[in-house]
């Protein structure tokens, strides 16, 4: 939408500018002695306003985009051509207007004054159209920079939302309320343990919040988060939850944040929690030639009612893998009484610093 036509107020202000410009044109004509002052005003002001409407087309000629996106040469050629064309068109309008005024009997011959005034009209029209185009380009550039600013703000808001979403996703109500229940129990039974649990939970939530909005984090940071989560769950489940993490062969690969935590959570809530004797949650990370392979596996109850719930955690992880496109894989299967999730992502390592 044309920025001036978008609101009636804008259009009125714009037309108001063309009235003094018309006065200026009348002055030029009068000083050149082509027309008397009165006639010059009668001729020039309405024509000027009509040219104002004609100049609105400059916005469409510039395509509403700033100079740097179009290329200087093309801009120059287009501007000159459009200005020549529109001032020629304006000249035709001026001729018709003079004819109309003449028919009211002021003049009998309009050809002579038109010829005399034509160069002034043409020059005036040419320059003003160029000016209109320049203003259009400026306005477009201004709009682009304002959009960029707004997008920047929107991105900030989105990042903040991503953090909150990450937190909400981690905050399974069961997890939180059960943890609070454990703390409530420990306060009398074992006060130092209650404090440890509070601190663990606080650390876990804080790290989730901090990591959730980042693009890539070191695997070690993700594993630290997973260990905290599992430590909180171990307080709840006691001996039933055992944990084995082996990531020595993984180096310092980069991973999307919260890649493993949902898998660890699934392993507990849909695996170990359903078993009376509990079991071991195993996490292994290994570096291949060009990829990082992580497996999370846990024992599961073969008689449990069919797959309720594991879907959300796996979906969250799949979403996090989307940034790798077709280069990342996630497979999940039940085999030998255990549930296996295998994630493979392209190997990305911290840029190696050159040593002198």
């Amino acid at each position: 939408m044309h920025p001036i036509l978008a609101r009636p107020g804008n259009l009125a202000a714009y037309i108001a500018i063309w009235v003094p410009l018309g006065g200026l044109l009348a002055g030029l004509l009068a000083m050149q002695g082509v027309l008397g002052w009165f006639n010059a005003v009668i001729v020039a002001v309405p024509l000027s306003i009509s040219y104002g409407f004609l100049c609105l087309s400059a916005w469409y000629v510039t395509g509403g985009s700033p100079v740097e996106r179009t290329g200087a040469l093309r801009v120059g050629v287009t501007a000159v051509a459009a200005s020549l064309l529109s001032s020629a068109l304006w000249l035709l309008i001026a001729r018709a207007w003079l004819g109309l005024i003449a028919s009211f009997g002021e003049w009998t011959d309009v050809t002579a004054p038109f010829r005399a005034a034509a160069p002034t009209f043409f020059g005036f029209g040419f320059l003003l159209y160029l000016l209109a185009m320049a203003v259009s380009y400026l306005a477009a550039a201004f709009a682009v920079s304002r959009n960029a600013e707004r997008r920047g703000l929107e991105l900030q808001v989105l990042a903040r939302e991503a953090e909150l979403r990450a937190l909400r996703a981690q905050l399974d109500p069961h997890f939180l309320f059960n943890s609070l229940q454990s703390i409530s129990a420990l306060t009398t039974v074992e006060p130092p343990a209650a404090r440890r649990m509070c601190l663990l939970l606080a650390d876990f939530l804080r790290e989730t919040l901090a990591l959730g909005s980042r693009d890539r984090i070191p695997l070690s940071a993700e594993l630290a988060l997973v260990r905290k989560f599992l430590s909180v769950e171990q307080v709840r489940f006691g001996d039933r939850l055992r944990v084995e993490i082996d990531a020595d062969a993984a180096g310092d690969a980069r991973v999307p944040p919260l890649l493993l935590q949902p898998l660890a959570e699934n392993a507990v809530t849909h695996g170990v929690a359903h078993l009376i004797e509990g079991g071991v949650v195993r996490i292994r990370a290994e570096r291949r030639v060009a990829s990082l392979v992580i497996t999370v596996d846990n024992p599961c109850d073969p008689d449990r009612p069919d797959g309720r719930g594991t879907g959300l955690g796996l979906r969250n992880v799949r979403e996090r893998l989307e940034s790798y496109g077709a280069d990342a894989f996630l497979t999940a299967e039940e085999r030998d009484g255990r549930f296996w999730v295998r994630v493979e992502i392209p190997l990305q390592e911290r840029p190696v610093r050159e040593t002198p």
Partner: protein, 247 residues
């Protein structure tokens, strides 16, 4: 009953049991007769000890709180404990079942105990079937059948069931040469099992169609199904129609 409330605590989390124990110890009117880490222990403890009240956690391994409730029957009062479960909470509200939300205070616990005493005095029974039915999201046909045998619980996966036979007030689930009796009607069993896998072939029999070896004409309007293990079961005319539709 006398003044002492004999309770059994059932929760798979040791710390959760510890809280209830701690709150109970502050009240001379409460006697904790057992604490159980799972539903099997709970069924056994309740059968052996006949408590007045069971405090029952909803989320537990193998048998959840509602399955335990179904197995226990209505001889004792129940107060559910849960951290968060939207379906369960709705069912509790609808059927006025008392429940405790983790974490809960000693005052809230006392209140629940008081209400349980009143219920026991008034001998109001819980609408058991309705609670069990409403407390879980509908997830299609059952995948397993729970059968209580005294203090023991059998968990029978439905694909291990050969057929189900109506016997007087009971139904008998036949599986791998054994039979498990349950206090239920055959119509209820039929409604619970997957209609694509189980079919009522006769007034007294529901059959797992995977077990069929052959069906032969036996007499006019009556057929006989032979199962893979050689068992022969009668098939009524309506039963044969249902069976042909499925096969």
């Amino acid at each position: 009953m006398t003044d002492t409330l004999r309770i059994v605590i059932v929760d798979d989390e040791p710390l959760a049991r510890a809280v209830v124990r701690e709150y109970s110890e502050g009240d001379p009117g409460i006697d904790v007769v057992a604490d159980c880490a799972n539903g099997f222990e709970a069924v056994k403890a309740v059968a052996d000890l006949k408590p007045d009240l069971v405090l029952l956690d909803v989320q537990m391994p193998k048998l959840d709180g509602f399955e335990v409730l179904e197995l226990l029957g209505r001889d004792q009062a129940v107060v559910f404990i849960t951290a968060y479960d939207q379906y369960a909470l709705r069912a509790f509200e609808v059927h006025a079942v008392d429940y405790l939300l983790k974490p809960f205070s000693a005052e809230r616990f006392q209140e629940a105990m008081q209400r349980a005493r009143e219920r026991l005095r008034a001998k109001t029974a819980l609408p058991l079937e309705e609670i069990v039915r409403d407390a879980k999201p509908r997830t299609g046909p059952s995948e397993r059948v729970l059968i209580r045998d005294g203090a023991n619980v059998h968990v029978l996966p439905v694909d291990k069931i050969d057929y189900v036979e109506a016997q007087d007030d009971y139904v008998a689930f036949k599986s791998e040469g054994k039979q498990y009796l349950k206090d239920q009607t055959l119509a209820a069993v039929e409604g619970m099992l997957d209609p694509a896998r189980f079919v009522r072939i006769h007034r007294s029999f529901v059959l797992n169609i995977d077990r069929i070896a052959k069906v032969e004409l036996y007499a006019k309007d009556s057929r006989m199904a032979t199962l893979r293990d050689g068992t022969r079961l009668p098939v009524s005319r309506a039963g044969y129609a249902r069976l042909s539709e499925l096969l």
